[in-house]
Symmetry: C2
Subunit: 104 residues, 2 copies
Amino acid sequence: MPTIHHPELDTVPLSAVLAALSDPTRLEIVKRLDESGSVGCVCADIGVDASKSALSHHFKVLRQAGVIHQEPQGTARITTLRREELDGRFPGLLVSVLSAEGPV
Amino acid sequence: MPTIHHPELDTVPLSAVLAALSDPTRLEIVKRLDESGSVGCVCADIGVDASKSALSHHFKVLRQAGVIHQEPQGTARITTLRREELDGRFPGLLVSVLSAEGPV
DNA sequence: CGCATCGTTCAAAGAACATTGGATAATGCG
DNA sequence: CGCATTATCCAATGTTCTTTGAACGATGCG
């Protein structure tokens, strides 16, 4: 398995982050990761209704947008939010998205 | 010309707003509108490099996402940001987007 | 009225995106 | 080793988005 690539947040365009977060499935993934805290999540156990391939795709999009971090652990991958880094690059963005009320 | 429809912000999904803002052209439009303040902008004078039709399309997307308000004035339309309303529905979101540094 | 201005609408084309199913790779356990 | 688990990759399909150019509609001015 090739090393997982995580982009420098300084190089990530704002539009890429917004695009990554603009999909309801991915928004739900991010919310689950937020609830899981620093413990992180195994992709398969995220509890989002989507096929294995679709999930893999969405995680890839989120990773390339600098939203999440993935660490191999056994056959699984522990996924966490890049909270502090994101908040450094886009202050207030993640919090406003995570705390939004109403329809997703 | 039919009355321009502006959605109630409570009914606008977060993902719709993020999708509207995730396009670089539309992000630039929003930034110009922010600079114009409460005075507003005439679409054609927005100074964004896009065709008339493309601009109309982008304004429509932004309007349907509740991001902008348009008011007929003569043959033109005065466009303004729905700042306060947006900040009520998604506290901190617009500010974080508008004040973001780095690549768009 | 005649005409220019500003914007919307329509159809068409191309690009980008989401989803699926099957194949593949890597790890850990018995 | 053989097998289950976890996740990625690939090709294919269908959908959505973006853009263009042409046609149309509404408004205001002379």
